[in-house]
């Protein structure tokens, strides 16, 4: 190894050089002498004595500068030292940290959750909606009214089928009524309301249906007029059908 430079010796003196330089001094007399000389010179420089200062020195200094110090006004107070700001900023920082941590966890979980959702079985379908197409209902109602109109007072065989058909139509009619009310069509609503009254009477007529009862209902409820209204409504059915169908498939039960 070459001799140590003066800079290396200085580093060694101030303990800023590695142990390799220190080991070199054990084997190199010339460097050891150079280091001893450096130590002696720098040792002389350490003997500087600082004049002592009494405990009252601080008061003396203060007395000499106090008159030259203007007071800080509270308005100029450093914002960092305001306890309220300090508390708020600390709380805000903690909240942000917590939010970032939580968001990070959610973000990490998201890619794992998506496949799980994709592979999960589809949720159970809602109860199947009996989609009543208005045109079908009106067509059935028309046939029913025609049948009712031609029912013979002597034909008791018609009573039971009419009652059953009336009960069947009654359910469908109520669904159509709700749809008609939602659509805001007064003519359709009115016709279905009248149809509902007729079907209700036929479905649950006290004492059962007979020739007299049928005749009375035909007169009181003007079934001929109702038949006419149904036919008119059916003539408008192409436009209405699309609208109702669209609405019913959109969620009408």
């Amino acid at each position: 190894m070459n001799h140590l430079s003066e800079e290396q010796l200085i580093d060694l003196y101030y303990s800023e050089d590695g142990p390799e330089s220190a080991r070199h001094l054990d084997t190199c007399a010339e460097c050891a002498r150079a280091y001893d000389s450096l130590q002696a010179d720098l040792g002389d420089m350490r003997s500087l004595q600082v004049p002592p200062r009494s405990e009252a020195y601080g008061q003396q200094v203060w007395a000499s500068i106090a008159d030259r110090l203007p007071s800080y006004t509270p308005a100029k107070r450093h914002w960092f030292y305001r306890p309220l700001w300090l508390g708020l900023t600390t709380a805000a920082a903690c909240a942000l940290l917590a939010a970032a941590f939580y968001a990070g966890r959610l973000w990490e979980r998201q890619p794992q959750r998506l496949p799980a959702l994709a592979s999960a079985p589809a949720p159970p379908a809602p109860p199947r909606v009996v989609v009543v197409v208005l045109s079908d209902h009106l067509e059935r109602s028309e046939r029913f009214l025609v049948q009712l109109k031609h029912a013979s007072a002597d034909d008791d065989q018609l009573a039971l089928p009419l009652r059953d058909e009336a009960r069947s139509l009654l359910d469908a009619n109520r669904k159509c009524q709700r749809e008609a009310e939602a659509s805001g069509d007064p003519a359709l609503t009115k016709a279905l309301d009248r149809l509902n009254d007729l079907l209700t009477q036929l479905a649950d007529h006290p004492g059962g249906l007979n020739a007299d009862a049928l005749a009375k209902l035909q007169q009181e409820l003007n079934t001929d007029g109702l038949l006419f209204e149904v036919r008119v409504l059916r003539s408008r059915i192409p436009d209405r059908q699309a609208s109702v169908h669209h609405r019913i498939t959109g969620g009408i039960a």
Binding site: R46, I65, A66
Partner: protein, 192 residues
């Protein structure tokens, strides 16, 4: 955070709230350590006294920029180092101007007129005079860097921070200072 730091920060808050006299507590706690480093850098008691006052005045004016995480003792110490460096630099400049205007040959000496001459050193025979003569051969930066490293036991990073220079520049300043001091001491020892 130590108790002294806590007390210092409380005093700083009071000062910034308008209580000027609270600064007296900070001056009382740190003036002696500031005087010590000021004296070691300037090598002169009266200059050191002025540095202490300048440091606390400058510290008061800059108190709003003090960061609460820091130690006031370290902060005012650094300010004092820079005040002392300024003081030595001004002294050297004044001395050089005096020497140049009074004696054209004196430009090669480059020492302040307040430094003891070799004859005084020899007559006095005191190690302090040797040392002071040697120290006056240094530039203000070298003198300050050497003082902080050799007498104040500051690390190179601390010296660099106090002098606002790169750590390597601080190290080079210490190297040059030691080399110059040794040359000066060798010359004086030969003459004795």
């Amino acid at each position: 955070m130590g108790r002294m730091d806590t007390n210092d920060h409380a005093a700083i808050r009071a000062v910034l709230s308008g209580d000027r006299d609270a600064y007296a507590a900070l001056v009382g706690r740190h003036s002696r350590s500031v005087f010590r480093v000021a004296f070691r850098i300037t090598g002169n008691e009266s200059d050191a006294e002025e540095v202490v006052q300048d440091a606390f005045l400058r510290g008061y004016r800059k108190l709003e920029s003090f960061e609460s995480r820091a130690s006031f003792g370290t902060w005012i110490y650094r300010i004092a180092v820079r005040c002392a460096l300024d003081k030595v630099s001004r002294r050297v400049n004044q001395s050089t101007q005096t020497s140049i205007t009074g004696d054209t040959d004196a430009e090669t000496i480059q020492v302040p007129d307040c430094a003891p001459n070799p004859e005084q050193v020899l007559l006095g025979g005191e190690i302090g005079a040797f040392r002071e003569s040697a120290m006056h051969s240094l530039t203000p930066l070298e003198r300050t860097a050497f003082t902080l490293r050799h007498m104040e036991d500051c690390s190179m990073e601390e010296i660099a921070g106090a002098l606002e220079i790169a750590p390597n520049a601080a190290k080079q300043a210490v190297y040059r200072a030691v080399q110059k001091l040794r040359q000066r001491l060798a010359l004086l020892k030969v003459k004795t």
